[in-house]
């Protein structure tokens, strides 16, 4: 598997297919990031699409190409925040019952899991999401992020441990 950094270089050199590979590698994780902010699956999908398109034009600004995943998380967060800025509904009380709730409800357990996941450190969250959301094996994640397999394994293990701890703590 080609490292993210190399794919970024290829994309910058005009290889649109390489950029497509990057999109395919990270899209699920990024949808979760967007969903966490915006709480709407369809809007989250739009935000991630917009973010990839915007990122394609900003690849020259990416100082560390191997950190593409973390860089995209920042872009998606910004885009999602901007999107919700325009959609918070404020209504008078007498109209409140007529306005349907927007977006998607998660059950309590999933809400807690998502919140716990988003509270992990950037490194831990990235490997966890690449593993469980984008479905990459540890060796593939190591190649993508130009890290040692041992490092990725440790991060993933720590991420699991922290996630379990936080779920245990998070009873509210």
């Amino acid at each position: 598997m080609t490292a993210d950094g190399e794919l970024v270089s290829l994309a910058m050199a005009g290889d649109a297919m390489a950029f497509g590979q990057l999109v395919g590698r990270h899209e699920r994780s990024l949808r979760a990031v967007a969903f966490y902010v915006i709480r709407d699956i369809h809007l989250a999908e739009d935000v991630v699409q917009d973010s990839f398109v915007a990122a394609y034009g900003q690849l020259a600004g990416l100082r560390n190409p191997s950190a593409f995943g973390a860089w995209m998380v920042q872009i998606v967060r910004r885009q999602a925040q901007a999107a919700i800025g325009h959609r918070i509904h404020t209504v008078p009380l007498d109209q409140a019952s007529e306005v349907p709730a927007i977006g998607t409800s998660l059950d309590v357990d999933s809400e807690r899991l998502l919140a716990a996941m988003m509270s992990l450190s950037e490194d831990e969250r990235l490997v966890l999401m690449l593993r469980h959301f984008d479905g990459h094996e540890v060796t593939a994640i190591a190649r993508m992020t130009s890290a040692h397999v041992g490092t990725v394994t440790k991060r993933l293990s720590r991420a699991h441990a922290h996630l379990r701890e936080r779920l245990k703590e998070c009873r509210l």
């Binding site: 270089s9 910058m12 050199a13 649109a16 950029f19 497509g20 999109v23 395919g24 899209e27 699920r28 994780s29 949808r31 979760a32 902010v37 915006i38 709480r39 709407d40 699956i41 989250a44 991630v48 699409q49 398109v53 915007a54 394609y56 034009g57 900003q58 690849l59 020259a60 990416l62 100082r63 560390n64 190409p65 918070i88 509904h89 404020t90 209504v91 008078p92 009380l93 409140a96 306005v99 709730a101 927007i102 977006g103 998607t104 409800s105 998660l106 357990d109 999933s110 809400e111 899991l113 998502l114 996941m117 966890l128 469980h132 959301f133 699991h160 379990r164 245990k168 009873r171 509210l172």
Partner: protein
């Protein structure tokens, strides 16, 4: 949670929020269509090389910073340890060290997160408070028993409060009377929804025969604080408390205590400093899809609330006042309360009521030096009354003085007894709506209607004040009714279940107060001198600038 459970949960979450078809084709199409306008293709090879070089330099710098900062931290830790040992061994007793620690903790300015778990009578209450001790912004997530989760966001800079509960997906956004106090609360480390952990501990610390032990434990300093149980006490006070202090910051990071008397269970608190700031209720976990419902007052309602609030809080700096009550339906249910205030000193004393309606001057002459049931003074509690409903026994327990910091000052004023429903007016939040009405049955009057919306663990109420524009908007009548049932989840805990099993008389209660006559203070502010509250008659009198002996103000 086992690893396979976690794996399964992550898989479920992934399918819920990140499943569906890939967006690769859509992104590819948009890029092929010329989006975005800035294309990366022409980036030159030298720029790529420069980027890689920069990256390597940054890594070297980061490595140096880590090495240097670790060394500094180790030195500081060693110095802090030495200072701590020096102070605790040579210059301060454990109790003094703990007092200093409490002071340092309350002196912290910045974002703090306080997680509280209280267990009382088998009910667990959880509070997760994130607050800024500099500006009073405060977010509170709370759950009592298995009841609904409630989230509050207080912002003193705007005077507004947001309230969200799991009952529905609405954020109520409106004024809250407590918001201006949040800065005061935050600086006392006293979250709005519970007693201050540190204040309570300070109270415990002031007890007689206190024992404080100090021992190192897992890199922290542990204090054990004990006071002997008082068999005569009728109050719920902590019996034993443990604190853990970070020796580096000299701040409390964890504490727990248990209670004496018939209350079982204990409370544990953890405190984190310098946490991530909260900027809105959405940062507390409110779904972004939630609808924000505004309950802000209209200008007309705000004007009436301001006028009525002024009446309810207006008392002279120096006065003696009397409120006498007779419940004609219950023989013996009659009492007399004398209120006194001289600048910042004040008292409230209760006495039996003479056979006739008294005059304040006569009463004060007759009661000078006589014992009374409840005593307060010098802006501190010097005693606290407890009332046993079963035996109708009203007792005063002498307790150490403690600051009045988190209490509303209006409770020290005689107007507190005249407008007994003022809590409904002065303690409002975004769940309260205000409207102004007129009615043919109250010609010439303005009706100020307060409705409490459906929130967990409370009943819905409507309170209407009929105000007389010809009498400085003094109330002529107040009608209060609880007519609806609060929304409680089916698996509510014992406390919520307690509410659910309240009798219908509690649910469908009502109260009517009719104000008959008003006197006037020197500045023209009216105050009621005669009124009837659901069958009980009251008379009141205020003697402005009347000075009493110091003995009245002392326990």
């Amino acid at each position: 949670m086992t690893p396979s459970d976690l794996d399964q949960a992550l898989n479920t979450l992934r399918n819920q929020i990140a499943g569906g078809p890939s967006i690769v084709p859509a992104v590819a199409r948009r890029i092929a269509d010329g989006e975005p306008s800035q294309n990366p293709v022409n980036m030159s090879a030298p720029l790529l090389r420069r980027t890689a070089d920069n990256h390597r330099q940054q890594q070297r710098r980061r490595l140096m910073r880590i090495t240097i900062s670790s060394a500094i931290a180790a030195c500081l830790l060693a110095i802090a340890g030495l200072l701590w040992l020096t102070r605790s061994d040579r210059t301060a007793s454990a109790a003094e060290a703990l007092q200093q620690t409490l002071s340092t903790t309350q002196g912290y300015r910045g974002w703090v997160r306080i997680k509280v778990e209280m267990q009382l009578d088998g009910v667990t209450s959880l509070y997760d408070i994130t607050m800024n001790t500099e500006n009073g912004q405060m977010g509170v997530v709370s759950r009592i028993g298995n009841g609904w989760r409630m989230l509050h966001w207080y912002d003193p800079s705007t005077g507004m409060c947001d309230l969200y509960s799991d009952v529905d997906e609405h954020v109520l956004h409106g004024e809250a009377s407590g918001v201006p106090l949040t800065l005061r609360f935050a600086r006392l480390f006293a979250p709005m929804t519970q007693s201050s952990a540190l204040e309570l501990l300070g109270y415990l610390m002031s007890a007689e025969h206190l024992e404080v032990k100090q021992t190192p434990e897992a890199g922290l300093v542990r204090f054990d604080v004990s006071s002997p149980p008082n068999p005569n006490s009728t109050r719920i006070v902590p019996l034993h408390a443990e604190l853990w202090v970070d020796p580096k910051s000299d701040r409390v990071v964890k504490l727990q205590w248990n209670y004496q008397k018939d209350v079982t269970g204990d409370t544990s608190v953890s405190i984190s400093y310098g946490v991530e700031p909260i900027t809105s209720i959405f940062d507390l976990g409110v779904p972004k899809r939630a609808i924000v419902v505004t309950t802000k007052m209209t200008p007309e309602a705000r004007e009436l609330v301001t006028k009525l609030t002024h009446l309810m809080q207006a008392t002279p700096k120096n006065y003696v006042g009397m409120v006498a009550r007779v419940n004609a339906q219950t023989p013996g249910d009659r009492s007399l309360v004398i209120w006194g205030r001289a600048g910042d000193s004040w008292f409230v004393r209760r006495y039996p009521l003479p056979p006739q309606w008294p005059q304040a001057e006569e009463v004060i002459r007759a009661l000078a030096g006589k014992p009374s049931n409840v005593e307060f003074g010098d802006a501190q509690w010097a005693g606290e009354g407890t009332w046993n409903a079963a035996t109708n026994d009203y007792r005063v327990e002498k307790v150490p003085a403690r600051p009045m910091g988190t209490y509303n000052p209006y409770e020290r004023n005689i107007t507190h007894a005249m407008y007994v429903m003022e809590r409904d007016l002065l303690d409002y939040g975004p769940e309260t709506t205000f409207s102004v009405v007129e009615d043919a049955s109250h010609p010439g009057f303005k009706g100020l209607v307060l409705k409490t919306l459906d929130t967990p663990n409370s009943r819905n109420t409507t309170c209407t004040w009929w105000l007389d524009p010809k009498q400085e908007f003094a109330p002529a009548e107040m009608v209060w009714a609880s007519d609806q049932w609060p929304a409680l989840p089916p698996d509510s805990g014992p406390r919520a279940a307690g509410i659910a099993t309240r009798p219908a008389s509690w649910r469908h209660a009502s109260r009517i107060i009719v104000y008959h006559q008003f006197g006037k203070l020197k500045d023209g502010t009216p105050y009621p001198t005669s009124w009837t509250d659901s069958g009980t008659d009251y008379q009141a009198q205020i003697l402005e600038d009347k000075k009493l002996d110091d003995a009245w103000f002392k326990p």
